[in-house]
Point group: C2
């Protein structure tokens, strides 16, 4: 949050930071302190919420505020779905991290909740949850330029594609990294690979609708898996291959 | 046969051409005529067999000869299996074309016949059928050099591979070509793609044991299919992708 979200919020004119929250008092104080570095964020009336200070000072209290439209979340993947839903049920829009959820089932449930007319969302008659996944690759100039060239027909028609991403995570970084803690499937491959999937989806003229994939672990220090190869079929019949490995050195 | 097999036989010291056969008199006479171009092939005692001249002058008569060890076949794919088996049953070794057969089932049956102790092969106690598929890509210097570098560990360990072959068959050639006549599955893709599969198998240090594939037709003049993408898994766990298209132009 201090390294990525605060600077991004500070430079976005349509956002004004009115409150910060964390479970612990210590981390929310650090966050509030970090916010003071940014001139465009109003320090003086920045409210601080944490569960340690009791229910009237915790998340539920923050979500009751009428002057909060949108909640920006910087959470580990497994913690996201419950809090996203909680924010929606309180009538707030959400900006959350990628990937959406630790499992396909939870991701599908969230997506359907965000787009369906689920009457269990209390404020649905006046509010449809708005949700932005903070996945930056589609906004990367090179990928976006590729997508624009494809859409303009500048490279001809896409008939086939082959994506190859080889980034070997070095041993110390791999061993220490929270990504390898498999409290969600896929480790580095889910959390890092999702970027390249997002870029590919952004560039392809027709959305992928089915795939067949193999996964395996090559580096012993990168459990549970570090390498994926997939055969992708798009709605228009185009097929392609998608290789992402965090356990194989980039070919020279 | 005149363009590829005769010159190859003529330059192979261990082979001596003693007889030629075709169903029709006209084509076997043309073949015998073509053989006379090669000094190392003994013309004078070259026997000519064809079914039009009656059973005693046809294939069965040829296969009864004790001085014939090996039969070199240049046949369309669907015609191969029956004649390969016939030659084996007559105790002859076979050099035949790729691919082995028009279907996986027929190919498997032939392979099992060539390697098993099938007692229906009459001469098995003294003869085990020998069989060479005339697939040239493993003997191509560049592919063979790649295979030797891999086996010597010169490029490190093979962790993943991506094969991409794009060769668009131009319209007139595609429309006229016998390959597109789908009396066997796959058309160009089976008959042409098998070369690249053979090269890959020659180079890989561990044999492919399973795959998942998509096929489709991109050019209307190349039925039944012209493009294949596969996800390949090898015995040692290595995975890779294999793309072959005769309907997509080579990227520039």
């Amino acid at each position: 949050a201090p390294e990525q979200h605060l600077p991004a919020i500070a430079t976005t004119r349509s956002l004004r930071l009115v409150a910060v929250y964390s479970r612990s008092s210590r981390s929310v104080q650090a966050l509030a302190q970090a916010a003071k570095k940014y001139a465009s964020i109003a320090h003086d009336d920045l409210s601080v919420y944490c569960d340690e200070d009791g229910p009237e000072a915790g998340l539920d209290a923050l979500l009751k505020r009428q002057d909060v439209d949108t909640v920006v979340m910087a959470l580990p993947i497994p913690a996201q779905p419950a809090l996203i839903e909680k924010a929606w049920r309180a009538g707030k829009s959400v900006i959350s991290e990628k990937p959406v959820a630790p499992s396909v089932a939870e991701a599908r449930r969230l997506i359907s909740l965000s787009s369906s007319s689920d009457s269990s969302l209390p404020s649905l008659s006046t509010f449809r949850p708005r949700w932005l996944i903070a996945e930056q690759f589609p906004y990367t100039p090179s990928f976006d330029r590729a997508a624009r060239l494809v859409r303009a027909g500048r490279i001809g028609r896409v008939r086939s594609f082959n994506v190859e991403v080889y980034i070997q995570v070095p041993k110390p970084e791999g061993e220490d990294n929270w990504r390898k803690v498999p409290d969600y499937q896929g480790g580095f491959l889910l959390d890092g690979g999702v970027h390249f999937a997002a870029a590919l989806r952004h560039i392809l003229p027709s959305p992928p609708i089915s795939l067949s994939a193999s996964v395996r672990q090559i580096q012993p220090y990168l459990p549970p898996i570090d390498t994926l190869q997939a055969l992708v079929t798009c709605e228009d019949g185009t097929t392609g291959t998608f290789t992402v490995s965090f356990g194989i050195e980039r070919p020279s």
